[in-house]
Symmetry: C2
Subunit: 700 residues, 2 copies
């Protein structure tokens, strides 16, 4: 059943409705009544016949008609029985407020699973358990114990934490922001964050979605739902639990460098979600996005009645990577005696400017094609008239360019902040916060204008890889070393230097002579991961004699250093041409799937951690963007007197890994390190690689 | 005359006092009266005999007694005449509110200089001009038109921007923060920011200093005053104008990499100033520092009544580089049924905890030696009692460990925020802001415990450098290339490879044979800065024949590529041993003097911009700290299987540059690039260097 009915019921029952002030069942009933819901409110409590002025029923069935929504405010142990009762009166959805489920331990988790299964069988949608309920301001429904209803408006809020749901409600009320829906999702046993996101995306009252999340179970579905929502309206999410959490054991560089948070960052970016870094910024973004249009570019015009705050605003704009621009130069409006230009880039409105002067400056900026957005900064002065100024500015709003207000200092100007918000002008307490909001708007606008994503499918030998991987999985040899790894990559179109495994010195010489000198020689052992650290790699071996000696020396050394290592022989291959060494790789996030990595080789990765990540599947443009967003990108382009390398070739490598790891979910980690890239047109070479496979699922 | 009298006058006259509401002279007189000043308030206005209930005098002299402080609220053009009148009645200090001085252009600047000179001659201290005046809450003096007086307390505020002074006043009132002095410094014609800083440092009422600055004229004096103040009490400064401003033309790497803001950052760090990045953080720091003791370490204990906000707080603590710790494990208090441990590192107080439960958790943490500071997070819930909780927590404060409160959501809890503040408990709206404050406190505490700074003086040949530099300055050859630069550095104890200038191929061979092969050969020309880009550097020249050929080839190539270049010859020197290439350098900040730079050579500096700066003079410990604070520090320590380099040797190089550039202010820029460092105990080598000198001041 669609969850839409949950939010637009014809009638609502409260099971566990109570007369006792402070009890959940009392608060919810009271909230429903005070909220002004037009349909029937049906208190259910066998002990009383009347509650808060409403007839009270012993059971749901006693109401005598079908019921759309039931708020269940009774202890967790009694909820299951009630679901069967609900089914009998054709209930569409229930809200379960009780705690004592997943969050309380293993027993609670069993109870929750049973409840979820039951609702599924009965085709009843379930919000919660362990949630506060929801509000729908348009329908005057306050089916929650979160607090009083906020004003009606376009911002919809959902939260995995009940406590933060209450806080967001308080903030919305305090900031006079209009709310469409407020939804406490609780443990998400039946209705998930993704369900809510999809609902709010199609909900006509909702113009901006604000969410607080602690985890996302199904990454791929989340990305789909979020992208779909963000295409329609701004989605702002605060994701907590960003540090330290759940780093898994890993042997690849890629795995080591990816934090648990990397995947969330990549997923939000992919799907156009505006990520709030702090709790305060959630509503800083939301108020701007709910009231003002998106900017068309990064040129910000600043109007201020004082130098200091103007400088602070200009600092913030520049730090955010946007531009402070002049305006009115062409139109000659600068001759307006109330305007003066200082610092070369900052319009400073004189201190004793009147409200009309502010409005004129705003109008001038609105008319100037060089201005994309306008920041109006006002500080209290003896002669300032904040309320009138607010009114004058609000009257100038044209809905084409975003105008954000910074009214600094609280006491003198509070009244006008409210006026500004009512007039559709978002207002901030400091320039920095307004600029953060503006930056978020700009990035969202840029995302909306992104070109269509076309993922290239390369022609590959998929069956060959399938054979190699399934054999390895069956035999439990889950680490693929250089030899097998190159085999896999070769099948996916990577250029692998000619070479073969030698199991004695004579064979090594034979192979070397066949492929031609100089050669590279590398120990092959399932027990040795960091070959070069142990003297297991020799490069530029020049002739037959040296090849023989190297074979003997290497196997001798390794068997002394790691006596227990099983040595399969030495891999002899053609030396790669010189080039720049980069690393490309993949680590699989448990929720979001394959995450591709790019970084320059050696110190850039190991010391500088200068790497970027992107979720697969990746487009060519995204792959190139990955390269560009490293600090060391300049190295790829070539510095002073050096030539650049073939950037498209690296991007192609990333796309091929993307295809490989999307095709084969059993590949958990993959490093190509180094991937040697040369001049434009030359083919990059896989100099070394390793992969980790997932074990086969245990047979039942 | 000391400026102390300005803030503690026996009587105060207002010249320009007016009956007209809205006029500055009316507002100030009114503010003085309403403020409750105990001494005589003396309105001066020849046109009336009574003002706001006070006898009004035609002139200062008519008052008949000496006057301590005169607030001058008349237009700028009439101020000078009044100073002479002031002198006749022994005025100690004046406040000039009028604008129309420096900020208005060249004429105003002249007027301001004349005013400043006049005050200097008459020994009258001057606050302003172009300022709002000041408040002294202890003495009930509101000699300003900034607004109403805040509550009495320990925070003193000064501001270069009048507008932001008003905003800070509003915020202090709104947040119920007690203020000692509020000072609008205006154009600082006579009383500078440094004067104010020194005054507030010795002012007994002031426990925390909060300042807004746009510029600092005398960097060295500022550092002295700020360090002195910060030794006594916390100093928090917001410095605006941080981006884009005034980058000067420069040829050195060091100069290119240092932004105008780098020097401020270095100066604040040196002097223990807590730098506020945003306007809001000014008071976030101030409220914590004015109410709570400094933490002794980085271990933070979090108490919360809800999971979500607890996770957010834990994220913020970890992102700030501090640790979330458990507590009470030893004492067994975890058996308290209201406490539970989640996520391995987070104490979560159960949702329906009562005020006593909060207080108990606080007490437990106060008693646990593993806890350095306590974060109390409260979100509104149906069952929460914020006011009682606030009271219970406040009663637990012991003044030994800092306790910061985060009461999220505004409406339900506003009353208790005020109660918290009155009880001495700083309160924040979000975990992030509380954690920022806590981090600032920790850094300040660490600064206070810094070891004494002992700058090493090396034995050097100062006279030799003096001779070289003054000759160059006299002849106007202000760019010192490799040869002269190495001469200077050699005199300051740097190891310079043996070498000499050859003016023809035969000489080159002679020199090379004398010093021994292999040699490096480098073109010497005052017109060529980037030698190697033009083929002007050859390394590892192996024998006499090659030396001769190289000489001819190099001079030929250069004269073709840069026909106008004056070629002095080729410098032939012993090849340096292999080692790690680093850059050390100096760029002179116009306000703060020599700023030392360190970075790893080549790509680390050019591509990664991985450099650190520090103001000279530098101690050995600070120099080592510079190395450690680069990302590439791991390279110095040696990675996988590689040996580290002699870190003390690099630090010693930085100290020697520090001494050199402190001794010789005429050195504007200096690069040693590369500075080649080897194993521990080996002497690092100056492989190349360049310097820029200041021109001699023009003779009058």
């Amino acid at each position: 059943m669609s969850i839409d009915k949950l939010f637009t019921p014809e009638n609502i029952a409260v099971v566990g409705a109570s007369r006792t002030v402070g009890k959940i069942g009392n608060i919810i009933l009271n909230n429903l009544i005070r909220g002004g819901f037009k349909g029937d409110i049906i208190p259910v409590n066998p002990a009383v016949s009347e509650l808060l002025g409403l007839p009270c029923f012993p059971s749901l069935a006693d109401y005598g008609k079908d019921i759309d929504l039931v708020v269940i405010a009774i202890p967790s142990t009694q909820v299951k029985d009630l679901i069967d009762e609900c089914a009998k009166v054709n209930v569409k959805a229930v809200i379960v407020t009780a705690s004592g489920y997943c969050e309380s331990g293993p027993e609670g988790a069993v109870l929750e699973q049973e409840l979820a299964d039951l609702c599924q069988r009965r085709d009843i949608r379930l919000l919660g358990p362990n949630c506060l309920g929801f509000m729908n301001t348009e329908k005057s429904i306050n089916a929650s114990f979160a607090g009083d209803m906020p004003e009606v408006g376009g911002i919809s809020v959902f939260s995995q934490s009940g406590a933060l749901c209450s806080v967001m409600l308080d903030l919305a009320i305090d900031k006079h922001l209009g709310v469409a829906k407020l939804i406490s999702v609780g443990n998400k046993a039946n209705i998930s964050g993704i369900d809510i996101l999809s609902y709010l995306a199609r909900d006509k009252q909702t113009t901006v979605i604000v969410g607080y999340l602690e985890n996302i179970i199904s990454g791929e579905n989340f990305i789909k739902a979020a992208e779909d929502a963000a295409n329609k309206k701004p989605v702002i999410i605060l994701k907590s639990g960003t540090t330290q959490a759940g780093l898994k054991a890993t042997v690849s560089h890629t795995g080591v460098l990816a934090s648990a948070d990397t995947a969330y960052g990549a997923a939000f970016k992919r799907s156009g979600v505006i990520r709030a870094d702090t709790f305060e910024s959630l509503f800083d973004y939301a108020s701007a996005l709910s009231m003002q249009p998106l900017p068309k570019g990064n040129n910000v015009f600043i109007i201020t009645n004082a130098g200091g705050p103007g400088i602070m605003a200009a600092d913030a704009v520049e730090s955010a990577g946007m531009n402070v621009v002049e305006c009115g130069a062409q139109s000659g409006s600068l001759s307006d005696p109330q305007l003066s230009l200082t610092g070369g880039s900052l319009i400073k409105v004189l201190g004793d400017i009147d409200p009309a002067g502010y409005a004129n400056a705003v109008k001038m900026a609105l008319g100037d094609p060089g201005v994309d957005s306008i920041l109006v900064v006002l500080t209290p002065r003896a002669t300032t008239k904040p309320a009138e100024t607010a009114k004058a500015i609000a009257a100038s709003i044209d809905g084409v360019k975003p105008i954000l207000a910074v009214f600094m200092g609280c006491c003198n100007v509070t009244v006008s902040i409210e006026q500004l918000v009512r007039a559709g002008l978002p207002c901030y307490e400091s320039p920095e916060r307004a600029v953060t909001a503006l930056k978020g708007m700009g990035e969202y606008a840029a995302w909306k204008q992104r070109p269509p994503r076309t993922v290239t499918r390369f022609k590959v030998n998929r069956r060959r890889v399938e054979r190699i991987l399934s054999r390895r999985q069956r035999t439990g040899m889950l680490q693929l070393g250089e030899v097998k790894g190159k085999d896999v990559l070769g099948a996916y179109g990577f250029h692998v230097p000619e070479g073969a495994l030698a199991s004695n010195a004579e064979e090594a010489v034979e192979i070397a002579e066949r492929i031609g000198f100089p050669v590279a020689m590398k120990i092959v052992s399932p027990d040795i991961i960091h070959k070069s650290d142990l003297g297991g790699v020799f490069l530029n071996v020049a002739n037959s004699e040296a090849t023989e000696d190297t074979y003997d020396l290497m196997t001798l050394k390794i068997s002394k250093k790691v006596p227990e290592a099983r040595i399969h022989g030495v891999y002899v291959e053609k030396m790669a041409e010189k080039g720049l060494e980069v690393i490309i790789g993949m680590t699989r996030d448990p929720h979001f799937g394959p995450m591709l990595m790019f970084g320059l080789g050696g110190i850039f990765v190991e010391v500088m951690k200068d790497v970027t990540f992107h979720l697969a599947p990746i487009t060519e443009q995204e792959a190139i963007q990955m390269l560009k967003s490293t600090k060391s990108y300049a190295m790829l382009q070539g510095r002073r007197g050096q030539d650049g390398v073939d950037i498209a070739a690296i991007a192609s490598g990333l796309q091929r890994i993307s295809q490989l790891t999307t095709d084969f979910p059993q590949i958990l980690e993959l490093d190509i390190n180094p991937f040697i890239v040369g001049d434009f047109g030359s083919e990059p070479v896989v100099a070394d690689t390793r992969m980790t496979l997932a074990p086969l699922p245990e047979q039942k």
